[in-house]
């Protein structure tokens, strides 16, 4: 049967599409309602799960989020790490910037006056596997950041780093290592004053 469909014909044929659209729309809404919260939690936990490692002694459930405006006039969310009693133990700052291949995303743990770095965690990176990749997989590289002073900004050297101010680059991945340090420096410089300007919290 080969009839050329007229305009009216198209409309009557469209009822199936409309019915399916409603059915599928309902299914998607159900999925969203059922799983939406779980997915949100997963996204949040990516950061929250790291907070006890980045600021030793912190209770991740007691973390307080603050939305502030950095010196670059962009909004940022910073995390105040508290222990079980509610005392402020430090800050966790998200930082990002251009690495060698693509963007690198970090979490930086700092003490309350933002003077010492307590920890570093790489959230996301697409550096060269086997070389730049080591910023994530080599714990030795990340552990270097603990205990470093934030002022003056960190510098990267190839060997014999100063224990308070310098980072040793990964062999063969100088640019990736430098990018990580630069991101740390820029993030702290960008957010230092707005964080210090936040009102001091009372203990709970």
């Amino acid at each position: 049967m080969n009839q050329t469909p007229t305009r009216g014909n198209y409309l009557t044929q469209a009822w199936l599409v409309i019915l399916l659209a409603l059915l599928y729309g309902g299914a998607l809404a159900a999925v969203q309602m059922g799983l939406g919260e779980r997915i949100q939690k997963n996204k949040q936990n990516e950061t929250y799960d790291q907070i006890p490692q980045l600021v030793p002694g912190a209770d991740k459930a007691k973390t307080v989020e603050h939305e502030i405006q950095g010196q670059n006039h962009k909004h940022a969310i910073v995390y105040e790490a508290r222990n079980q009693q509610g005392t402020r133990l430090g800050w966790v700052l998200p930082g990002s910037g251009q690495g060698f291949a693509d963007r690198i995303e970090l979490l930086i743990g700092l003490d309350p006056p933002l003077a010492t770095i307590l920890g570093l965690y790489v959230l996301d990176q697409k550096e060269t596997p086997g070389l730049g990749n080591y910023i994530t997989s080599a714990e030795k590289f990340r552990d270097q950041f603990s205990g470093k002073q934030t002022d003056p900004p960190l510098a990267v050297v190839k060997m014999d780093p100063d224990p308070k101010h310098e980072i040793q680059a990964i062999t063969g991945a100088t640019i990736s290592s430098t990018s990580v340090s630069q991101i740390v420096n820029h993030t702290i410089e960008n957010l230092r004053q707005p964080i210090l300007d936040l009102p001091a919290t009372a203990q709970h």
Binding site: Y24, G25, L28, A29, V31, Q32, G36, K74, H75, A76, I77, Q98, F100, A101, D102, T128, I175
Partner: protein, 234 residues
């Protein structure tokens, strides 16, 4: 941000999408037309231009829909919700409908381009044959829409329309470069002595691999490009 910084940022997005993170050789989208492309460079170039046009159109539409309707906290649903007296503190997230919307946007864009080409470039339309409607299943276009959606998730760093279009344009240009190169190489390949098992997709993939290796040389370039352009415009 000064307008110069904006322009530099846009150029960086275009170069990054076209060369450094080439859609075909780095992200593996648009492989089917890439492998099956004709041996004629002019046909391949025409196909690339058509795809670039469709990607840009689809990116424009999907950015608009995502920014105003689909993303979490989008203005239009919030306005409607408020108008029917809903709770203002609830943030509406319609992003679950994203994929369906994008595929329809793409199908419509291809349909639109098809009608346009048929009306104004009938000879071109005939030479394209079945490839024009097949652009709908070209992963590259949906991929561009998905990348734009990715950059509209974080409310502190939303991509503007020029940035989305820059990504689409760069992606299309990169796709065109890749398939034109492949078409040219396949022209030469006809004169070579390819072992029987490799004939067809086998040797094409190996060539693609070597091309991908060559394009890897562009890694890390966008930082330098950014620095060069900034100093140029200073």
């Amino acid at each position: 941000m000064s307008s110069m910084e904006l322009v530099v940022g846009l150029i960086q997005i275009v170069i990054s999408a076209a060369l450094i993170n080439n859609f075909v050789l780095h992200y593996f989208v648009g492989i089917c037309p890439f492998l099956g492309v004709s041996r004629r460079v002019d046909m391949a170039f025409g196909m690339g231009c058509a795809v670039t046009f469709v990607i840009s159109l689809a990116a424009f539409l999907s950015w608009t829909f995502t920014y105003y309707i689909l993303r979490p906290g989008a203005p239009l649903p919030a306005w409607v919700w408020h108008a029917v007296g809903g709770d203002a503190s609830v943030s509406i997230d319609l992003s679950v409908l994203s994929y369906i919307l994008y595929i329809f946007v793409i199908a419509s864009s291809v349909q639109f381009v098809e009608m346009y080409v048929r009306k104004y470039f009938p000879a071109l339309y005939k030479s394209f044959g079945v490839f024009l409607p097949l652009i709908t299943t070209n992963c590259a276009i949906l991929f561009a829409c998905l990348e734009i959606m990715k950059h509209l998730q974080d409310p502190t760093e939303l991509w503007s329309l020029p940035q989305a279009l820059a990504l689409a344009l760069g992606g299309g240009i990169g796709f065109t470069i890749a398939i034109s190169l492949m078409a040219g190489l396949r022209e030469e390949l006809d004169l070579c002595d390819v072992p029987k098992p490799f004939k067809g997709p086998g040797i094409t993939l190996i060539i693609a691999g070597i091309m991908a290796m060559a394009f890897m040389g562009f890694t890390g370039m966008d930082k330098g490009v950014h620095a060069a352009l900034s100093s140029l415009f200073q």
